[in-house]
Amino acid sequence: MKKIYIIAIVMIAAAIILLTTAAEDMSTYSTFADAARSGDRVKIAGQLSKDKEMYYNPEKDPNYFSFYIRDTKGDEQKVVLLSEKPQDFELSEQVVLTGQMKDDAFVATDLLMKCPSKYKDEEVYIKEEGK
C-alpha cells in the first residue's frame, strides 16, 4: 500500500474524530427556559422587547446594559450585557445572545444584532423642507 493512502486514512480518521468532537461546540438556539434549567452557556435568538425598559447608565456602571428579549418560545426575559450599549441597539430586530442564566437575569457576554436596514435601505429619502 502506498504511504499516501496511509496518510489519507489517518487524515480521514482525524477528520471523523474532529467532527464528532466539534458536535459539542454546536447546539440549537436555546430558550430562556432551557437556559434556566441547565445553567449552561447557550446561544439564544430572540426579538427585542421595544416597549420594555432599556437601562444603561454609564455613571453607575459603564459595563452594565440591561434590556428585555422575547425568545422563540415567547418568553420574555431580562438580559444583562456586560458592556456598553451597542450603537443602534433600538433599531435591531433579531438579537442573538451568548451567555448563561445567573439569578434572575440572562447574562450575555456576546451579542449580535441584525438591523434590516444596515446594508440596504428600502426607504426613499425625501429632502427635508427648507434644505
Partner: protein, 954 residues
C-alpha cells in the same frame, strides 16, 4: 393610466449603461465560444480566425465593462438620484474621495469590480499566454458570462412572476419601487441620496475591496490554466505560467485578507484583527487551497509528481471562491455574520454559478484522470516532494474543516428544506471552536515548512544526507526550545497547546533562517519561499503574543468596588467611565480625557496617557485621538473609530465605547433641557442670595435639602460663550454668577448668556457638572438691564464740537467725532459712512463717564445706534449731522436709576455630561503578526518576480 412626463431625469447614461451591460454579456459569450473553437480546432487552419474573433469579442467585452463602470461613476459623480444604485450609495454630503467606496459598497458594484479585474487580467493573459491564450481566455470569458449575468437584470418567463436574472445597477428608482412620490413629475428634485454607510467612510474601504477582488479575480487564472491543461490534454506546459499566477494570486489575495484584518483592528472597534466570522473564513479558505495548489504545482514542475493534486487544488480554489461568493451574497449566513450582504434574490443564480464550475471541473477531471501522467514510483520518504505534498494535504484539510463549520447555516437550510421542523444548529462560541482545530494545522504547517526546506527533490539516498539534515534540524529544535523559554519571560503562554505552537513557530523561523544563510547562502533567487516561511513563524509568535496576552487597561477595580450592579464576570468588563479633566489610574497608566473638538460630523476626543515611575515622575506621556462620527441628524453615533499608540513591541488601542445620551442624541438633549426643573431666582448685582433645593432620594418621602448660595457678580453686554457666535444686530447679555452649595466646598463661577436675535431668544446655559446644576438667564434680564425705549423721555439737543449742556444736573459735552466708531452692535461694511460722537458726561459728584452713539449711512439710508451709560441710566441717540453749521443732533434721555435685579434660573437635576466611556486594550507583539504576515506576502511576490525574470530570460 396616463404616462407621467418626468422632468429632471437624466436617462441617457442609463441607456448607455443598459446597452453596455447587454453588450458585455453577449461579448463574453462570443469570446468564450470563439476561444472555445480556437482551442478545439487548434490544429486546423481556421483556428487563427477563431482566435481573432475571440480577441475581438474579449476586447469588446472589456470596453463594455469599462463603459458600465464609467457610466455608473458619471451618474454617481453628478448625483443622479433617479438611479436606484446612485441613490442608495451616494448622498449630497458624501465627499468625492469616497465615490470609489460608494461604487463598490453594493452587490452590483462589487460584481463589477470583480469583472473589471478579470478584464485586466484577461488582457494581460491575451498579451502573454501565447499558446495558452485560447483555452484560458475561453474559461475566463465563461466566468465573466456568469458574473455578467448577475448584473443583467432581465426578466425571463411569462405570467405574473417572471424570473429575474441578475440585479441591474442602472435601474431607475421609480422602476424599482412604488412610492407616492413618483406621482409627481419633478420627483427628481425632491429625493436625496442615502449615502455611504458611515462605518465604511474611511480609506480602508477605498483600498481593501479592490485588493481583495483582485485577489479573487486572480484565482481564476490558475483555474483557467488547470481547465486548459485538462481540456487540451497537455499536463505539463501550464506548470510554469500557472505557478507565476498562483504566486501573484497568493500574494494579492493574502494582502486583501490582511487588509480586512487591519481595517477591523485599526478603524473599527472590533478589538482584534480576526474573529472567525464566516465572511473572513470564506476569504481565507480559497487562499489556503491556493497555497496547497502552489506547492503541488512546485512539486509537479520539479519532479512530475502531484500533477493530479495540483489540478484538484487549482480547480477547488476557484470553486471555493464561487462558494464564498454564494455564502456572502445570498443571505444564507443570516445572523451568523456581522458583515455579509443581505439577500437580493440571486441565490439560485449563485448556486448555478457554483454548480456550473463544479460540473465542468468534475467532468473534465474525470475524463482525463487516467491520462494525467503520474510517476509509477512513489515519492521517497526522505524527499522534499513527499513532505511538501503532506503539507498541501494539511492545508486542504484546514480549508475543509473551516468550510465545514462555516457552512453550518447551509446545512441547516438543507435539513430544513426536507424537514421544516428541524432546528438549526449554531456554534456557541466560534472563536475557541476554530482556534482549537487550526492551532494543530498551524503546528503541522510550521513543522513541515521547517523540515522540508532541508530536504531535496527526488532524494533517493537520504541516508547519506541524514547526518547533515539531522544536525541542522537538531540545532533548530534546541534553539527553538531556548527561544520558547525566553518568549515566556515576555508573554504568558498558559496552555501546553500554545507552548507547542510557539515552539514550532520558532522552529520554522529558525530553520528557514538557517537555510537562508547556510544552504542557499543568501542567494536571492531562492529566498522567496524561506522569507514566506520565516514570516509564517513570526506571524504565529505575533498571534500568540497579541491574542493570549491582550490586556484590558480600562478597568479600575478600586473605583468599581461596591458600585457594580448585577452579576459579575470581572474579566468581561472592559469599559471605564472617564470624567473630563479627572485622570484615572489604570494598569500602570494615568489616563485623562482632556478635551474634545467637533468638525462637521466627527467629534474627536483627546485622551492623555501618562506613565509614572516609582518616584511619581512622569516618564512617558502621549495623547490618543479616538473619534466618533455622528449620523446626519446628530441623533446617533454612526461609527466609533479607535486610536492606537504603537510601540515596537505592543499597541495601546483606545476607543470610545459610549457617551452620555445627551451627547449622542441632540433631540434627546433638547428634550432633556426642556424637562429640566428650572426654578427662577433673582439677585441684585453684587449681592448674594441663598435658597434651599429639595431632592427626593427615594419614594415615598425621603428628601434631602441642600442650600445653594448664588451671587451675580457682574453683567456683561458683550458676552462670550463657547457655543455662541455673535451676529450683527444681536442683543446679548451675559452674567457672571458665583454658585456654591453647602455640600460642596468650592465656589463655581459660571457665565450664562442670553441672546435676542430678531424676534428669537437664544439661551446659552452654563453647566456645573460637579453640582449637576445648570443655570440660565431668564428673559426678564433684558427688562432689568435695558430700559424700554418707550419709557424714555428723549430731549433733542444740537451740539457743535466743544458745546456743553446740562441735563438733570449732569454736564454733557460733545468732545468731537470718532471716524472709526466701535459699537457692540456695529460691524463695518465697505460702503458705510459711519461716525460716532464722543460724549463726555460729568456727574454732580464729579465722576465722569463716556458714551459713543453712532450715526451711520448705509445704502443711502441713515441709521443710528444708541449708546448708554448704564450706571446713570443715561441714553444717547445720534440722529443727525448738519454739515452747514458743523453741528450734530443728539437725543438724550435719562431714566430714573433702578437696582439691577437679575433674574436667572437654576436646575439642580442636570446630570453631568462631561464624560466618555472608554475601552483601552494593550496588544503585545501585534507588530509581529503584521510583520510576519507581510513577510509571507513579500516572499510570495518575490518568488513571482524571480520566476517572471527566469521566464523572460528563457
Amino acid at each position: 393610466m396616463q404616462e407621467i412626463q418626468y422632468v429632471g431625469e437624466h436617462l441617457l447614461p442609463g441607456r448607455i449603461g443598459q446597452v453596455a451591460i447587454l453588450l458585455a454579456f453577449v461579448a463574453s459569450l462570443l469570446a468564450a465560444v470563439a476561444y472555445f473553437f480556437a482551442t478545439q480546432r487548434r490544429s486546423l487552419p481556421e483556428a487563427g480566425q477563431w482566435l481573432l474573433i475571440g480577441r475581438g469579442a474579449f476586447l469588446a467585452h472589456a470596453l463594455s465593462v469599462f463603459a458600465i463602470i464609467g457610466v455608473i461613476f458619471y451618474a454617481m459623480a453628478n448625483q443622479y438620484f433617479e438611479y436606484q444604485y446612485v441613490q442608495a450609495h451616494v448622498s449630497e454630503e458624501l465627499p468625492m474621495k469616497y465615490i470609489f467606496s460608494a461604487f463598490w459598497e453594493g452587490q452590483e458594484g462589487s460584481f463589477l469590480l470583480w469583472m473589471f479585474w478579470h478584464v485586466v487580467l484577461g488582457l494581460v493573459l491575451m498579451a502573454s499566454a501565447q499558446r495558452w491564450e485560447a483555452p484560458t481566455l475561453s474559461v475566463l470569458s465563461l466566468i465573466q458570462l456568469f458574473i455578467g449575468s448577475m448584473i443583467l437584470g432581465i426578466y425571463i418567463g411569462f405570467g405574473d412572476e417572471p424570473t429575474r436574472i441578475g440585479s441591474n445597477p442602472m435601474m431607475l428608482l421609480r422602476d424599482v419601487m412604488d412610492a407616492p412620490i413618483f406621482a409627481s413629475a419633478d420627483y427628481v428634485s425632491q429625493i436625496k441620496g442615502n449615502g455611504l454607510n458611515p462605518l465604511l467612510q474611511n480609506y480602508w474601504m477605498t483600498i481593501h475591496p479592490p485588493t481583495l477582488f483582485l485577489g479573487f479575480a486572480s484565482t481564476s487564472i490558475p483555474f483557467s490554466y488547470a481547465i486548459a491543461g485538462l481540456w487540451t490534454n497537455e499536463h505539463k506546459g501550464w506548470h510554469q505560467p500557472a505557478l507565476r499566477w498562483a504566486l501573484f494570486s497568493g500574494a494579492i489575495l493574502g494582502t486583501g485578507i490582511l487588509m480586512g484584518g487591519a481595517w477591523a483592528y485599526e478603524a473599527l472597534s472590533f478589538g482584534g484583527y480576526w474573529a472567525w466570522d464566516p465572511v473572513e473564513n470564506m476569504s481565507l479558505v480559497p487562499w489556503l487551497v491556493l497555497l496547497a495548489g502552489l506547492h503541488a504545482n512546485l512539486i509537479a514542475k520539479n519532479t512530475g509528481h502531484s500533477v493530479r493534486s495540483a489540478y484538484v487544488y487549482y480547480l477547488l480554489t476557484f470553486i471555493f471562491i464561487a462558494y464564498s461568493t454564494f455564502l456572502t451574497r445570498s443571505g444564507v449566513l443570516g445572523d451568523t455574520s456581522v458583515h455579509a450582504f443581505t439577500e437580493m434574490g440571486l441565490e439560485w443564480q449563485l448556486i448555478g454559478f457554483i454548480a456550473a464550475f463544479v460540473l465542468l471541473s468534475a467532468i473534465l477531471l474525470g475524463a482525463r484522470y487516467k491520462q494525467i501522467p503520474s510517476p509509477p514510483k512513489e515519492e521517497p520518504t526522505g524527499s522534499r516532494e513527499f513532505w511538501m505534498f503532506i503539507g498541501t494535504l494539511v492545508l486542504l484539510f484546514s480549508a475543509l474543516i473551516i468550510t465545514a463549520s462555516t457552512s453550518l447555516p447551509v446545512y441547516n437550510k438543507i435539513r430544513q428544506a426536507f424537514n421544516p421542523l428541524f432546528e438549526g444548529r449554531v456554534i456557541t462560541d466560534p472563536i475557541p471552536h476554530y482556534n482549537k482545530y487550526q492551532i494543530w494545522i498551524a503546528v503541522f504547517i510550521a513543522l513541515l515548512s521547517g523540515i522540508s526546506q532541508f530536504l531535496r527533490y527526488r532524494e533517493f539516498n537520504f541516508s547519506k544526507y541524514a547526518r547533515r539534515f539531522g544536525l541542522h534540524i537538531g540545532i533548530a529544535l534546541v534553539l527553538s526550545a531556548v527561544m520558547v523559554f525566553l518568549t515566556t519571560r515576555w508573554i504568558d503562554v498558559n496552555a501546553w497547546q500554545y507552548v507547542t505552537l510557539l515552539f514550532f513557530g520558532w522552529f520554522t523561523l529558525l530553520a528557514n533562517a538557517d537555510y537562508l544563510i547556510t544552504f542557499i547562502k543568501g542567494n536571492v533567487r531562492m529566498a522567496g519561499s524561506t522569507l514566506s516561511h520565516i514570516g509564517f513563524g513570526v506571524m504565529i509568535i505575533g498571534i500568540l503574543a497579541s491574542g493570549l496576552n491582550q490586556r484590558v487597561i480600562s478597568k479600575n477595580f478600586f473605583v468599581m468596588d461596591g458600585l457594580i450592579e448585577g452579576a459579575s464576570d470581572e474579566q468581561m468588563r472592559s469599559n471605564i467611565l472617564l470624567f473630563k479633566g479627572s485622570p484615572m489610574v489604570m494598569e500602570g497608566y494615568e489616563v485623562a480625557y482632556t478635551q474634545d473638538t467637533i468638525d462637521h460630523f466627527t467629534r474627536t476626543f483627546t485622551v492623555n496617557y501618562k506613565r509614572k515611575n516609582k518616584k511619581g515622575e512622569v516618564v512617558e506621556s502621549f495623547d490618543l485621538h479616538p473619534n466618533i462620527l455622528y449620523d446626519k441628524s446628530f441623533t446617533k453615533v454612526a461609527a466609533s473609530n479607535p486610536s492606537t499608540k504603537r510601540y515596537w513591541d505592543r499597541d495601546i488601542f483606545t476607543h470610545i465605547a459610549s457617551l452620555p445620551q445627551v451627547e449622542i442624541d441632540m433631540d434627546y438633549r433638547r428634550q432633556r433641557e426642556d424637562s429640566l426643573n428650572y426654578r427662577l431666582h433673582q439677585a441684585v448685582v453684587g449681592e448674594a442670595i441663598s435658597f434651599p433645593d429639595t431632592v427626593q432620594l427615594s419614594n415615598p418621602d425621603t428628601f434631602t435639602i441642600r442650600t445653594y448660595r448664588a451671587a451675580v457678580v457682574a453683567i456683561d453686554r458683550a458676552p462670550t460663550h463657547p457655543d455662541y457666535t455673535p451676529e450683527e444686530g444681536d442683543i446679548a447679555i451675559g452674567a457672571t454668577i458665583e454658585v456654591s452649595r453647602n455640600d460642596a466646598d468650592s465656589v463655581f463661577t459660571v457665565h450664562p448668556v442670553l441672546v435676542l436675535r430678531g424676534q428669537l431668544l437664544y439661551s446659552y446655559p452654563a453647566q456645573i457638572n460637579e453640582l449637576s446644576t445648570r443655570i440660565r438667564l431668564n428673559d426678564g434680564v433684558f427688562d432689568a438691564v435695558f430700559t424700554p425705549e418707550m419709557n424714555l423721555d428723549y430731549q433733542t439737543f444740537t451740539f457743535r464740537q466743544g458745546d456743553e449742556i446740562n441735563l438733570n444736573g449732569y454736564r454733557i459735552r460733545f468732545a468731537g467725532f470718532n471716524r472709526q466708531p466701535q459699537h457692540p452692535n456695529y460691524q463695518p461694511r465697505e460702503d458705510d459712512i459711519a461716525v460716532s460722537a464722543m460724549m463726555q458726561v460729568q456727574a454732580p459728584d464729579g465722576q465722569s463717564y463716556d458714551a459713543q452713539p453712532v450715526y451711520l449711512i448705509r445704502d443711502s439710508r441713515p441709521f443710528n445706534l444708541k449708546d448708554e451709560i448704564p450706571e446713570l441710566g443715561m441714553h444717547f441717540r445720534f440722529t443727525g449731522i448738519d454739515p452747514a453749521t458743523e453741528s450734530i443732533e443728539m437725543m438724550a434721555a435719562q431714566a430714573p436709576p433702578k437696582p439691577l435685579v437679575i433674574p436667572f434660573e437654576l436646575a439642580s437635576n442636570s446630570l453631568r455630561s462631561d464624560y466618555i466611556v472608554l475601552e483601552a486594550i494593550e496588544f503585545p507583539g501585534i507588530n509581529l503578526f503584521w510583520a510576519g504576515s507581510c513577510l509571507m506576502m513579500i516572499g510570495l511576490l518575490f518568488s513571482m518576480f524571480v520566476r517572471i525574470r527566469q521566464w523572460q530570460q528563457a
